[in-house]
Symmetry: C2
Subunit: 229 residues, 2 copies
């Protein structure tokens, strides 16, 4: 019988979070060293089980908050993974989410307690279970998102240099982008505010700082466009 609630099997549902950050070294993800069996001591995404009275989005937020102390974070559901033996302990279905966070804003203490560490996406160690698979899926999704919607507000500090934004796009798309073409395309989106302020730390000339125009940025987030670098 297809549709009997009472006889249907129940399963464990987990959420796992792929947490992206960005700093001067490029695109990073946050991993934790598992402190329980199985695979204790191995690197892993941050995860937890869904609770009965909780929706998946909230479970993902809770997991992220538990490990990083962060709230109000950009998250998106990625995919649901259900291979029978993906978790060797017990059949567990996992819904993956990815988050974009500003590395400067996270709670370093919490991260230390959980033995968490930022890794460059190009230098990620072998992860437990099917987390490698989730990560590569998340990177593909982030690349796609970057070509269809603006990115940066979630990952950069409030004030940033154009060269930082360029580097962010280059690390996400994993390719070189012509500086002049990049600037004119970004400017055509009309989502940046150029400040009078300069950052003098990185060059003698100094470079202007920018912020995102949050309203225009959010408007662009809603309507997909194609931005080809």
């Amino acid at each position: 019988m297809l549709n009997s609630y009472s006889t249907a099997d129940k399963v464990l549902l987990a959420v796992d979070c792929i947490i992206f950050g960005f700093d001067e070294d490029g695109l990073k993800i946050l991993l934790i060293k598992r402190d329980f069996e199985p695979e204790k001591g191995k690197w892993s995404l941050m995860g937890g089980f869904l609770r009965k009275e909780e929706v998946l989005d909230d479970a993902a937020i809770r997991v992220l908050n538990t490990y990083t102390g962060l709230q109000d974070i950009y998250m998106e559901q990625l995919y649901t993974y259900s291979e029978i033996d993906r978790d060797p302990v017990e059949r567990t279905i996992s819904v993956a989410y990815y988050a974009l966070i500003n590395i400067e804003n996270h709670n370093a203490e919490l991260i230390q307690n959980y033995h968490a560490k930022w890794f460059s996406v190009s230098e990620v160690p072998k992860l437990i279970f099917d987390h490698d698979n989730m990560l590569s899926h998340a990177i593909r999704r982030l690349r796609y998102r970057t070509s269809m919607r603006p990115v940066g507000f979630e990952l950069l500090p409030e004030k940033f240099k154009m060269s930082q934004l360029l580097k962010l796009y280059e690390s996400i798309l994993d390719k070189q982008i012509d500086k002049r073409n990049f600037i004119s395309k970004i400017n055509s989106l009309d989502i940046l505010i150029k400040l009078d302020e300069k950052d003098m730390t990185s060059s003698r000339k100094g470079s202007y700082l920018y912020t995102f125009d949050k309203e225009k940025y959010d408007a662009k987030l809603l309507n997909n466009f194609a931005l080809n670098f």
Copy 2:
């Protein structure tokens, strides 16, 4: 405690299938009239519960096969829905899949047994639970897919007219497309084989039939491209 398998809640996991088809009237979806409570008699997507020993993809395939008799169908996981009260009987998380099928190939008898019916996407009745939401999500996804990868092989009969392919694109994207521009773009993809055969049923002049070059089609399916109509 975040990670205790033994104390974590278990939940019911369902799959629901959004089944797209295409005929002379345009893009359609297959719905069933529920023959059990709750919401008996209302229109609904096809669904079923995940079994303990089954992966989600297989559950979606099983549900589709049960209602249509079809096998070897193009399906993609869409999204996982977890609102607390989305199913009034019991907390149920549902993983939605969408399928593209050739209407001509389905098993009409099975569909009759289950009181299934094809609806034009523009004339879909109110659906149970959050199925309306799933459907609009699926349409968005299908539109996106259509702009990034070829579509048609899964939905059209083996031999088809160029005008059918055009109409398929127009119904998916819900807009008029210039015939000449369409043909030159489709030809530039190099996925069609023009047959010597003509279909004489629709016009005095007759129109050439085409098939997809399956190998080239599948190759394009893997690498996203942007096709702007």
